[in-house]
Each structure stands twice: as structure tokens, then as C-alpha cells.
């Protein structure tokens, strides 16, 4: 009794798209360059790895690494985001656990770790471990209550993210409507950095060069507005904040809503995988 391969292939394809988008964001972000280390490349790296791992779990043909390797990778990711959540909690209190930017990534990483650690061998054939759900055996997870809880929380985060992504207060900053920003013209000091943007690329343009904060509204006749991000401040703030992930003008892929959309897609797919392996 298995799920039709075509259904799983669709979800695997979605994960491949997420992986491709995350990889493109990393390339556009160039976190390896000096002064760009503060931006949240860890989100895109974790998205990339999770998407590849999930695609390999959903479709055996896309399997890349052995389970043990994924165990180590997601244990490290969980520890990394747990450290950031703990740091946020010290700063902002218990609210960091529910409303912080790192908490969803911690849950995602922990859910992936649980999925790879708790999976039991298929009842019949199919080898051992997670080697594609479309195989002949049915994979199950030990401690199903954990799978249920993770699925519940992941669905909650996905719903919340979608609400925030489409919220009225997000117009021009965080929403899918970001490409339809209002008037052009030079942005004034103290006004929203997006006020002069006409394109998503402009709207989400971000930190310019390290160590030299740039005034808003100075380039390209006011159409390209750079957000001011003091590097030192960026270092102090949470690295998981999607608002921080801004890049140079011309990179639509660096828009915060792109990362959030990837997170929504992964959250739903992860919840699906957990539920069908209970």
C-alpha cells in the first residue's frame, strides 16, 4: 500500500525548485565575499540541504547522500539554529521561541533530523532507511506522536508565514505584491526604504558595500533605493531574519518573500512526509 509515484514526484519536483531557488539566492548573495558574512546565508543553505534531502526521500532516483550523512547534517543545522534561538531568547525572552525568526528554522531542522533518525526499515523490500517513499515497502517512523507534533507545528508555521506574506501591512515590503510598488522618486531620509522602488529588484535592494552605509534614494534617478544596513548592526541582529536577506539591485531572487515561500513549500511537504510515515 503506497502512494502513487506520480503524486510523490510532484512534491519532489517542488522540492527541486526550492533547492534551485535557494542555490540561486546563495549565488546572488555571495556570502563568501568579505563583508557579506552577516547576511543570513544559513537560511538558504539549510533550505538547499533540506530540499535536496526531501526530494531524495520522495523519489528514490533523486537520492544523494546516505542517511547517516543527513543525520550529521541536520544535527548540525539543529544545533546551529538552537544556538540562535537560545541567543534570541536571552535577548527577547520567551517570545523568541514563538515569534522569533530562527524558531521556524529550528523546527524544520529538528523535524528533518527526527525524520532521518526515527525512520524504520520498510516492511517489505525496498532496502533500509529512507530511499524513496514510492518504493515497495511502507516506511514508518518510531515515536509517531513526535511526527504528529512536528507536522502540527510545521503546518502552523506555514499558515502563519502565508498570512504574514499576504498581510496588508506588508505592502511593498514583504508581500507578493512587492513588484507593484507605488510612486517613483527619491526616497527621503527616514521614509520607508521602499518608497521609491518600482521593481522588486529595487524594492529589495539591500546592503551595499561593507563598512560604508549608503544613503537611500541616491542611485538611478531615485528608482533604485538601497536599504541602509550598518554591518555592525547586522551582526548583532538575528541571522534568521528574512528582512535581512537583501542583496544588490537586480536580484529578485533575494526578495524576502522568496525565502518565505520556500519555507512554506518545505513546511507543507515536510508535514506531508511526516504524516504519511506515521
Amino acid at each position: 500500500m503506497t502512494i502513487p509515484a506520480s503524486v510523490l514526484d510532484i512534491f519532489a519536483a517542488i522540492m527541486l525548485v526550492v533547492a534551485a531557488v535557494s542555490a540561486a539566492r546563495l549565488v546572488a548573495l555571495r556570502p563568501w565575499q568579505r563583508g557579506r558574512g552577516a547576511v543570513a546565508a544559513d537560511i538558504d543553505i539549510s533550505h538547499l540541504l533540506m530540499a535536496i534531502a526531501m526530494a531524495g526521500t520522495l523519489a528514490a532516483g533523486l537520492r544523494t547522500l546516505p542517511n547517516d550523512a543527513w543525520d550529521v547534517i541536520f544535527a548540525a543545522a539543529t544545533a546551529w539554529f538552537a544556538y540562535h534561538v537560545a541567543r534570541d531568547a536571552r535577548r527577547a525572552g520567551i517570545r523568541a521561541l514563538s515569534g522569533g525568526h530562527c524558531a521556524p528554522h529550528l523546527v524544520h531542522s529538528a523535524a528533518m533530523l527526527y525524520m532521518f533518525v526515527a525512520v524504520t526499515a520498510p516492511a517489505a523490500g525496498g532496502g533500509s532507511g529512507m530511499s524513496g517513499m514510492g518504493g515497495s515497502g511502507t516506511q514508518t517512523l518510531s515515536l509517531p506522536i513526535l511526527a504528529f507534533l512536528f507536522a502540527f507545528i510545521l503546518i502552523g508555521y506555514s499558515i502563519w508565514d502565508l498570512d504574514q506574506l499576504s498581510g496588508p501591512g506588508a505592502s511593498g515590503h514583504y508581500s507578493l505584491a512587492a513588484a507593484r510598488i507605488r510612486s517613483a522618486g527619491p526616497a527621503l531620509a527616514g521614509t520607508p526604504a521602499l518608497a521609491g522602488a518600482e521593481s522588486p529588484a529595487a524594492a529589495f535592494s539591500g546592503p551595499t558595500s561593507a563598512g560604508s552605509p549608503t544613503s537611500a534614494g541616491s542611485s538611478s534617478a531615485g528608482n533604485t533605493v538601497a536599504t541602509v544596513t550598518p554591518p555592525a548592526e547586522a551582526d548583532r541582529t538575528s541571522s534568521c531574519d528574512p528582512d535581512q536577506v537583501t542583496g544588490g539591485a537586480g536580484h529578485l531572487v533575494l526578495a524576502p518573500w522568496v525565502a518565505t515561500s520556500c519555507r512554506i513549500a518545505m513546511g507543507i511537504t515536510m508535514a506531508l512526509m511526516l504524516i504519511i510515515m506515521i
Binding site: V7, F152, W160, S166, G167, P168, A170, G172, H173, I276
Partner: protein, 329 residues
């Protein structure tokens, strides 16, 4: 230009008003999101391997039993159709439910998704749940009467993103339909549950015991133990347990007509009873045992009860008559 200092200042450079506004959904929006989450969970559950087999169609066919012919015949036709096209139709069903959840969560589409969810819920209530056993005499509040999915539709109506102008809003569920209608719907639902608790099939000495004990099968050890112990508690006490349950349900039903402190107590009682039903009587909708199509009624009753939590009474300003919380008109 002066560089903003501190995290708040940095955020302020992005438009502090917008950032603040996007993070503050009100109580009704939170309940809409809860409903969206349950629809999404439903959709995910519908992708389970069991649902892609003929057994799913057979499960639907079983809900026709005991219903009048006019109700049962379409159920049997629908079940046969699903048995013949199990993969394609189930994939469509699952996707519809996922889209309903996402649509409610996405503000520009909330009205369309809530409207569609009402139509879908009514169809599932008939074709998938046999009207929750209401007409067959087998409905029990402990096992999901009057059908979990009809509560989805009720929630969609109560949480519709419209405000009645200038009227007092004693609780979130009253914002769209008004307090009298919302209270009447609550009364009908909970009184019907009290009535179902007293049906002959449910007040028999071993009825409740058998119903709860039957839920233990396939569940994790700790949940099965809870079910077995609860079943032992009501063994041969079917009538007494049913009467106590019916009194509690009737008290909940009339509670929303009482002053705020008593109404709060009634809502708390509703949440406690719904939680007990969800854990003991429904075993979380048997999700942990596999093969569940939804989390059953307990979770939905909790969400519904939260929609009736008495708030500080305030009239909705006339200017907010439409487009509540930034919803499109």
C-alpha cells in the same frame, strides 16, 4: 543621512508602520488561521497511502448505512465512483483541501476560500460522512457527531471577514452574523449534541464503554492506555454517563446567553469537554493510528469555543464595516 541605530531603528528604515501592522492579526484572524491549519492538515491526511486504495471508497460507502434512501443512494454512487477512480479523485480531493487551507491563510483570497470551504464541507458532510449519522440514530458527541466537517462550515460562516456596523461585538463569532444569530447557532449545535448523547444507542449500559475501548486499537501504547482506562470508568454506566454528558452539553449550550463571567465559564467547560472528547473519545481523530481523514470534531469544537470567548463589548466602528483586517472588499 543619519544611519539608524539599533534593531528597531533598522527595522524602522523599512517602514515601521508597515512592519508593525503586518504582525498583528486580531482574534478573528487567528481563528481563521486555525481553521486554515485544520484544512491544510486535512489535505495532508488525505494524501496518506490508505486513501489511494479502494478501501477509501468502501469507507465512504459504510456511512450510507442507516440513512434514508434519498441520502444513501448518492453516497453509494459517490463511493463506487471513488472506488473506480481512487488515485485521481483522491489526489484531487487532497489538493482541494490543501488549497482551501492556503486560500484562507492568504488574505486576498480569504473570502473565496471560506465560501468554497462551506460548499466543500457540505458536500463532504453528505457524501463523505453520511450527514454525521444524524439521521441514522447512531450519532454520538463522543465519536464526532454531528460530523466534524459541518463544524468547518459553521466556523467559515462565523469567521466570515465582515463586520456588522455599529453593533456590539461580545465575541469574535458575532462579528459577521451578529450576536443573536451566533448565539442561536451555538445553542442549536450544543443542544443537538446533548440530544445525541441521550439517544438509545448511546445510553445503553455498554455503549460508551464499547465506543471508547474501540478507539484503542492501533493507537500508541499511552493513548491506548488512556482509552482503556476511560472505557473501564464508564463500563456498565452508559445511562449515567450519558445523562451527565448531556447535562454538561446543555449547560454549555445556554451558557452564551448568561452574563460574561458565566459565559466564560461555559466556554471553558466547552473547551474541556471538547478536549476530553478529542483525546478519549476520538483518539485525536485516530491520526496516530493512520488512516484518518481529519482530526475529527474535538479540535474543531475547541476552535469554535474560542470564537465565543467573551471579549470587552465594543461596537464595530462604522468605518470598519467592510474589509476587516485588510481583507479585500
Amino acid at each position: 543621512m543619519a544611519v539608524p541605530r539599533g534593531r528597531a531603528a533598522w527595522r524602522g528604515s523599512l517602514g515601521s508602520g508597515e512592519v508593525a501592522a503586518r504582525t498583528a492579526p486580531d482574534a478573528r484572524r487567528m481563528l481563521q488561521l486555525a481553521l486554515a491549519g485544520v484544512w491544510l492538515l486535512d489535505g495532508v491526511l488525505q494524501y496518506q497511502s490508505f486513501m489511494f486504495t479502494k478501501a477509501f471508497g468502501q469507507m465512504l460507502a459504510a456511512t450510507a448505512a442507516g440513512n434514508p434512501g434519498v441520502i444513501a443512494s448518492p453516497i453509494n454512487w459517490d463511493a463506487r465512483l471513488i472506488e473506480h477512480h481512487d488515485v485521481a479523485l483522491n489526489a484531487i480531493f487532497a489538493t482541494i483541501q490543501v488549497l482551501l487551507g492556503l486560500g484562507i491563510a492568504c488574505r486576498p483570497t480569504v473570502r473565496a476560500a471560506l465560501g468554497a470551504s462551506i460548499a466543500w464541507a457540505l458536500a463532504v458532510w453528505w457524501f463523505g460522512e453520511g450527514l454525521g449519522g444524524v439521521l441514522s440514530g447512531t450519532a454520538s458527541p463522543v465519536n464526532g457527531a454531528p460530523g466534524a466537517v459541518i463544524i468547518y462550515a459553521l466556523l467559515a460562516v462565523l469567521l466570515w471577514p465582515t463586520d456588522r456596523r455599529g453593533l456590539p461585538v461580545p465575541f469574535a463569532a458575532a462579528r459577521a452574523v451578529g450576536a443573536p444569530a451566533a448565539r442561536a447557532l451555538w445553542l442549536v449545535l450544543w443542544l443537538s449534541l446533548a440530544y445525541f448523547a441521550l439517544l438509545p444507542a448511546n445510553r445503553a449500559p455498554q455503549a460508551l464503554n464499547g465506543m471508547i475501548a474501540g478507539m484503542a486499537s492501533g493507537e500508541p501504547g499511552w493513548l491506548a492506555a488512556i482509552d482503556r482506562n476511560a472505557a473501564a470508568l464508564v463500563a456498565h454506566q452508559g445511562l449515567a454517563a450519558s445523562v451527565v454528558l448531556a447535562i454538561a452539553l446543555a449547560a454549555i449550550a445556554v451558557g452564551v446567553y448568561l452574563p460574561a463571567p458565566a459565559a466564560r465559564a461555559a466556554v471553558v467547560l466547552a473547551i474541556v469537554v471538547a478536549a476530553a472528547i478529542w483525546v478519549v473519545g476520538e483518539a485525536f481523530g485516530t491520526i496516530l493510528a493512520g488512516g484518518a481523514t481529519d482530526p475529527n470534531s474535538g479540535l474543531l469544537l475547541i476552535v469554535l469555543a474560542l470564537a465565543y470567548w467573551p471579549a470587552r463589548t465594543a461596537a464595530v466602528p462604522r468605518t470598519q464595516g467592510h474589509a476587516a483586517e485588510g481583507m479585500p472588499k
